[in-house]
Subunit: 131 residues, 2 copies
């Protein structure tokens, strides 16, 4: 909890109970969309409004606290900002696992005439459980 407060303050955002609670919800889930954040935070703070979540999703992205993970055919999910990584997405159970982008992979992504700044890699398939 104190972690989230620090995280917010370090990124020039006031540490409100709504914000720490949204961050906790995202952190717990790993990757979660707006509606599921709402369902989750309401348990503890029943008056926390969806509008507040929308407003904060925007401002927390601007201030580099969270990152959008756009999804095919469904609403975007959000994750806490962390080191660069890729997503292993299970097409059966939907679980999203974060995995390091190896330096070997990075080397192969150096393209002529393109000045790379960041990358987004999603791998779809079956996780260990679902195989």
């Amino acid at each position: 909890m104190t972690n989230y407060i620090t995280l917010l303050k370090d990124n020039d955002l006031k540490a409100t109970i709504q914000r720490t609670s949204i961050l906790q919800s995202i952190d717990k889930a790993g990757h979660i969309n707006v509606d599921d954040i709402y369902e989750d935070v309401k348990k503890q703070y029943p008056t926390l409004s969806l509008a507040t979540i929308y407003k904060n999703i925007i401002v927390m992205q601007e201030n580099n606290v969270i990152v959008e993970v756009p999804m095919n055919g469904e609403k975007s999910k959000y994750e806490l900002k962390k080191e660069e990584h890729m997503h292993l997405i299970c097409e059966n159970c939907g679980y999203i696992m974060d995995t390091e982008i190896t330096s070997k992979t990075k080397e192969t992504l150096i393209i002529e005439n393109f000045q790379l700044q960041s990358s987004q890699i999603n791998l779809f398939g079956l996780c260990q459980k679902c195989q």
Copy 2:
């Protein structure tokens, strides 16, 4: 034009003028969202409705004619279905270029305990013009 007719029929869809015209618009643009398709097709077929575009975007995805390209912070774009490739996205001008995923890259994406089916790779940076 006859290309799009064949493409549709090969994928069990009736070849209506609305569909060929939507496909032409996507093909021309490379990557385009629903609103921009609408603006474009209206030039030739002013009565073509946004509802028809939405309905066809869904059915054409189901029938493997087009593919969704989800975007951060904006509406999804769509492209014609083609061989696997990655996207080089210019953060300055927004241009999206398709590039082959080399076998070298693919080799590095073989992960233990994950049965890979497909991958989605977006590289963000500056295109040649914008550097």
